[in-house]
Subunit: 618 residues, 2 copies
C-alpha cells in the first residue's frame, strides 16, 4: 500500500485555506498512486490554535471545514488528518485532539490523542480531554497504529522519567500493527529533531514495525515547526526524509523498498508552485537564493561549532538555527495581512545587523528598511557599519540623529529632578527650569526610548513592522530598555544567546560567500553606546562566561551550586546573574513575541510571577 | 472540636515569611483553644507559584520550609496546611498539590488534590499530577472530608456541564464525614464569591454535613483573592463569615452553635498588628480610613448598580470591585522591594483620575505622584481637573508640557516622510528636511509616546512605579498607544469596562463623602485629546453600547449572532468591534500586567495567537 506524507504549513485559524491545501495535496497524492495521504496533527486548524478553541463560533466553523473536507476529498484514496473534535460525553473537556480517517465521503475511523503535553509552550489539557487507550485502525487490510505527537514521546529509552502512566505506542503494539503512523505538530528547538528521530528509531527497533511520522512545518506566532517528516524501517534505515523548514511531499510503499528509495530521491515537491491557491498560507520554500539580489547561495558547509556535534546530513545546529529564524520571520509576515516591510533600527552592532540580515533572507532586501539613529555617544563606526550592511543587502536606509529630542526631553524633565522631597499638592506645579535633568541610567534609557519613538512613528506612518533586536543573553539579564530597544512587533533573536548570534552571523556570510555583515560588526567589543566608552563587559561577564550560566539556569533549571559545578564560574557572579534574571521578569512580561528555537524560550512557555519573594539560600 | 479558620495573605515564593505567618497564626489558634487550625491551599508557597515549581532549588527550599513548619508548629493543636509535595511514583507530573495534617511534630496525614483547574489563569496540570480518590482524614475521632479548592467545584447544581468525571466531594461523602474542610486559593472575580458560596450551600444541603472553607486572601501579580472564608451549617445558616479582601481569623466549634455565633461576632483579627513579623508579607487590612488624610470614611452604601443585584450583606459588586482594585495595588507594592511610590499620568479624564484615586486609597496620597502633560490639543480643563484631583488626595503633582519634544520629533522625522517609494540602499541617507512630518494616527501616537518617555524617565530617576490607566474597553479595541499610554508596570483598570469605571469612581466619592474625583471628570465626554475636538465617540460606539458587546465577546465567548440577539446592536457594528478586538492582540501581548477582577481578563488567562487567519462568516 502506498502512503503519501503531506508535510504542510497551515496558518492557525485559516480553516478555508488549510482545507484547500489539504484537498490539493490529497489530489496530488492520488495522482501519485497513494492509497492513504497522511497530514499533520490539527492540520485543519493549524497548531497551536490556543484559545480560538474556547470560541463556539470557531468550533462551528471547524465542523463546517471538516464537513467540506470530507465531502470534497478526492475519492479513491483515504486521508488521515488532524482536527479538533467535540467530546460528546457529559463530563470532561469539550474537545478531543483527533486524527480522522476520511474515506469515500465519510469519516471511517477516529483516533483520539491520549497524552496531552501541558508544559512549556504546550497547553493541551486546557482544551482537550485525554483519551483512554485507542484501538488499531484497519484500512484495506492494513493495521495502522495511528497516534498523535506526544503519544509517542513517553519513551523509556530517551527519558527515564515518564510523564505519563500510559504508553500509547506500547498499547497499539500489543494489538499488533503493520505500521505506526504518527501525526505531529512538534516544534523546532536546537537539538530537538535528533531527539525526535531517536524516539522513532527506538520505537521501530523495539517493535519491529515501520514508522511513518508526518510533522507540521512553518511558523505560527512564537513557534517554528521544522517538518522533517520521515519513514523508518525496522532494519534501522530511514526510508523517507522530508525537507527541514519547508513544505514537502513524498510517497512510500509499505513493504516495497525499491519504490521507497525512489520516493526519497525524486518526490520532493515545492508547494509554492504546485499548490493551486498559492496564497499567504503557502509560502514558498525558504531557499535563501529566492531572497537575495544577485548572489548565488553557498551550499551549507560545516562550521567548527562547539555547541553540538555536526549532524550526519551535513547540516549542523547553526544551520538549523538560521533556517528556523528565517522561517519564523518569513511566516510572521506571510500569515498576516497588515505589514509588508520590516523596519530595523541599526546600531552598527551584531544583533541589529543579524536581525536585518535574517529579515532580508526571509523577505528580500527590498522589503527591509534600516534606520541608524546616532546620539552624542555613537561612534562613527556605528553609522558606517550600518551603511555597509544596508549596501550589502540592498535595503532602504535612513539616518535620524536623536539629539534634538533627547535635548528637549532633558529640558522638559529638569523641573522634576528632585521630586523625592517634601512635595505636597500644587506647590511644585509649573515649568520649572531647575538645572540638571536626566543622568545615569535615566539618561541611557531616555536615548533608547527616543529611538523607540522614532521607529514606532516610522512604523505607524508607513505600515512597516518593527523588528526588535535583543538577543537571549540581554533579554535574560534585562540589559535592554523597555519601550526603547525592546519596542517592536517581533523579537527575532530573543531566543538566541549572544555567543550563538556570532555563529549564526558568520554562517550568513558563509552562505552568501561575502562579508555582507561587516567584519567590524563581527569583531568589535559589544557596546550599547549609551554613555562615553561604554562596553557590555562593564556590567556583565564576558558572553562566553555569561551564556553557559544563563543556559543552565533558564533552559535546564540549575541553580547556583549546579551552575558553579558545571561552568567553574564563581558563586558570587553566578548568583548575581541569576538574581538579574529573576528581577527582570517585569521587562519580559512586556516583551515582543520572539521566535522560539530552544526548549525554553522567554515568552508564553515560561511563566513566572512578577511579584514573588523567593530568596535563594545558596 | 474547635477549628480555627486562618485566612492569610501569603506572598508567592516567600517561603520563610509564609511559614512565619502560619506559625504565628497557629499559636494564636492554640491560644484560642482550637484543636485544628486550617490554612489556605498552597499556603507555604503562596498561590500561584507558577514556574517556580519547575526549579529543583525552589522545591528543595519548599521541603525545608515544610520541615521547619512541622518542627516548630506549636504542640497541642494540629495544622491543616497547603503545600506542594513531590510525587514519588515513577510516572506522572513531579508534584502533588497537597493538604498536610501537621500534628505533634510530624505529618500525620496527606490529602492530594484530584481536580486540577487548567483553564483561564489556571495551569495546575502543568505542574501537578491529578490524584486518585482520597480517603477521609480521621483526627481525634472526627472524620474530616479534606479536599482542595477545585475538588468542590464539579457541582451539578451550579453547572450542568461537568469538567471532570470524578466528584471528590461525593466520594468523600460516601465514606461518611463529620465535616467538609476545603483549602482554597480561589481568586476574586465580580460575582464569583456568590457562586462559590452557592456551591458550598448546595454541598451542605445535599450531604447534611457542615462545611469549612478557608480561602487565601491578598493579591499576587494579576490575581486578587477575596478571602471570605466561611462555615456553613446543614440547616443553611452561615455560622462563620470572615472578612472580604483582608486577612482574618475565627474559631468555630463543631457541634456547638453558641460558640459559633460568638466567633462570628468577636474574633475578627487584624493580622497587621497581631502577627509578630509585621513585614511586607502581612499588609494591614485595606480599611480605607488608614490611607486617607483627614477624611473619615463613609460607610459603604448602596448604589443603584444595574450590573447585578445587591448582596444581602449591604455590599454590592461595585464595592467588591473597588476593594479588589485597592488590594491589588496595595499588595503589588507591599510584596516587592523596589518601588515605594506610584506615578500616574493625569489627563483630566476618568481613567487616570480613578487610577490615581485607587493608588491613594491603597498607599496613601503621600506615596502617589501625579503628572499632567499638556499638548497643544489639551483643554485647559485637563490641567485644572488634574490639579483639583491632586489637591483632594494630597498627592505630589507636576506639570510637564510635551510640546518641545513633539516638535523635535516632527523635525527629526520629516526626512522619513515619504519612504514608501523607490528607495535603494544609501540614496536617502542624510538629515533631510522635507517639509511635513508626522500626521494623523502617527502624530497621535507620537504625543502619547512622548508622554510615555517622560513618565518612564521620572520612574527611572526616582524609583516610582508607573501605573498605566487604560480600562478594559480601550484595551479590548486597541484604543491605546503601545509604549505611550500603555507604558507602565501595573494596569489598574485593564479589567474594568468604561461604564464600570464611572460606577467605581462615584463609589470612591461616596465613600469619601466628597467630590475627590472632580465632577467635570465624571461628566465630560471621554476624549484622548490627541487632535482638535477629538472624542472617543468619533471612533467607537457609546460605551453603554460598546461594553455589553465586549463583555459578551471577551467574557462569554459569544459571536456576532449571539451578541446581536443579546444586545440589539446591529450586526455591522458588532462585527467591526469584534474584529477590532482580534486585531489588537499584538498590543495586549505587550501590555502591563493588570488586576484581574472578572472571569476573563486580558493577561495570562487569555491566550490567543497573534498570527491567525480565522475570518468570521456571520
Amino acid at each position: 500500500m502506498r502512503l503519501a506524507l503531506c508535510q504542510l504549513n497551515p496558518t492557525v485559524g485559516a480553516l478555508d485555506a488549510n482545507v484547500d491545501a489539504i484537498l490539493a495535496t490529497a489530489q496530488q497524492a492520488r495522482d501519485a498512486g497513494a492509497a492513504l495521504a497522511v497530514f499533520p496533527e490539527l492540520a485543519v486548524t493549524g497548531y497551536p490554535p490556543q484559545d480560538l478553541l474556547d470560541r463556539p463560533a470557531f468550533l462551528d466553523d471547524v465542523e463546517r471545514a471538516v464537513a467540506r473536507l470530507v465531502a470534497e476529498a478526492p475519492r479513491g484514496l483515504a486521508l488521515l488528518v488532524g482536527a479538533p473534535v467535540r467530546n460528546t460525553a457529559p463530563t470532561g473537556k469539550r474537545l478531543f485532539n483527533a486524527a480522522l480517517l476520511v474515506d469515500d465521503g465519510r469519516i471511517a475511523a477516529t483516533t483520539f490523542k491520549q497524552l496531552l503535553p501541558t508544559y512549556d509552550v504546550f497547553d493541551e489539557y486546557r482544551y482537550f480531554e485525554p483519551a483512554p487507550p485507542q484501538t488499531v485502525v484497519t484500512f484495506r487490510g492494513v493495521r495502522l497504529g495511528v497516534h498523535l505527537c506526544e503519544d509517542m514521546w513517553n519513551n523509556r529509552e530517551e527519558d527515564p522519567y515518564q510523564l505519563y502512566a500510559a504508553n500509547p505506542v506500547d498499547d497499539l503494539a500489543r494489538q499488533s500493527v503493520d505500521v505506526f503512523v504518527n501525526l505531529s505538530a512538534s516544534p523546532f528547538a536546537v537539538g530537538r529533531p535528533a531527539f525526535r528521530e531517536g524516539i522513532v528509531r527506538d520505537t521501530v527497533a523495539e517493535h519491529g514495525v515501520p514508522f511513518v511520522l508526518v510533522n507540521q512545518v512553518g511558523a505560527n506566532t512564537e513557534l517554528v515547526f521544522d517538518g522533517q517528516s520521515s519513514v523508518w524501517q525496522p532494519d534501522g534505515r530511514k526510508a523517507v526524509a522530508l525537507r527541514p523548514f519547508a513544505e514537502d511531499f513524498a510517497v512510500w510503499d509499505l513493504g516495497n523498498d525499491e519504490n521507497t528509495a525512489n520516493a526519497v530521491e525524486t518526490s520532493h515537491w515545492d508547494v509554492s508552485t504546485a499548490a493551486p491557491s498559492g496564497d499567504a498560507a503557502h509560502p514558498s520554500s525558504n531557499d535563501i537564493a529566492d531572497a537575495l539580489p544577485g548572489d548565488a547561495p553557498v551550499h551549507p558547509s560545516m562550521l567548527g561549532a562547539d555547541l553540538h556535534a555536526a549532524r550526519t546530513d551535513g547540516r549542523d545546529d547553526v544551520d538549523d538555527l538560521l533556517d528556523a529564524l528565517i522561517l519564523g520571520v518569513k511566516d510572521y509576515f506571510a500569515k498576516q495581512p497588515f505589514f509588508k516591510k520590516a523596519l530595523v533600527g541599526l546600531s552598527g552592532g551584531i544583533d541589529s545587523a543579524l536581525t536585518a540580515a535574517i529579515a532580508c533572507l526571509a523577505l528580500g532586501g527590498e522589503r527591509v528598511v534600516g534606520v541608524t539613529m546616532p546620539s552624542r555617544y555613537s561612534s562613527s563606526g556605528s553609522v558606517d557599519d550600518s551603511r555597509a550592511l544596508a549596501d550589502a543587502f540592498g535595503l532602504e536606509f535612513y539616518r535620524v540623529p536623536i539629539v534634538p529630542a533627547v535635548t528637549a526631553f532633558g529640558q522638559m524633565l529638569a523641573g522634576t529632578a528632585d521630586s523625592a522631597t517634601d512635595a505636597t499638592g500644587g506647590d511644585r506645579v509649573g515649568d520649572a527650569v531647575i538645572p540638571g535633568g536626566p543622568t545615569g541610567v535615566t539618561e541611557e534609557n531616555l536615548q533608547a526610548r527616543t529611538r523607540g519613538v522614532v521607529l514606532m512613528a516610522m512604523s505607524n506612518a508607513h505600515g512597516h513592522l518593527l523588528l526588535t533586536t535583543g538577543n537571549k543573553s540581554e533579554t535574560a539579564v534585562g540589559y535592554a530598555t523597555l519601550y526603547g530597544d525592546m519596542a517592536g512587533g517581533l523579537a527575532v533573536l530573543s531566543d538566541v544567546f549572544k555567543t550563538d548570534v556570532y555563529k549564526v552571523a558568520r554562517r550568513v556570510n558563509e552562505r552568501l560567500g561575502k562579508a555582507a555583515i561587516p567584519e567590524p560588526t563581527l569583531t568589535k567589543p559589544p557596546s550599547a553606546e549609551l554613555r562615553p566608552g561604554q562596553k557590555d563587559s562593564d556590567s556583565l561577564p564576558p558572553y562566553d562566561v555569561l551564556d553557559p550560566i544563563l543556559r543552565a539556569y533558564v533552559e535546564h533549571h540549575l541553580d547556583v551550586d549546579g551552575i558553579v559545578a558545571e561552568t567553574g564560574t564563581d558563586a558570587e557572579t553566578v548568583r548575581r546573574m541569576l538574581n538579574l534574571v529573576d528581577r527582570n521578569e517585569f521587562k519580559r512580561w512586556q516583551a515582543a513575541p520572539g521566535i522560539r528555537v530552544s526548549t525554553k524560550a522567554f515568552g508564553a512557555g515560561r511563566r513566572f510571577p512578577l511579584v514573588e519573594g523567593w530568596e535563594r539560600k545558596a
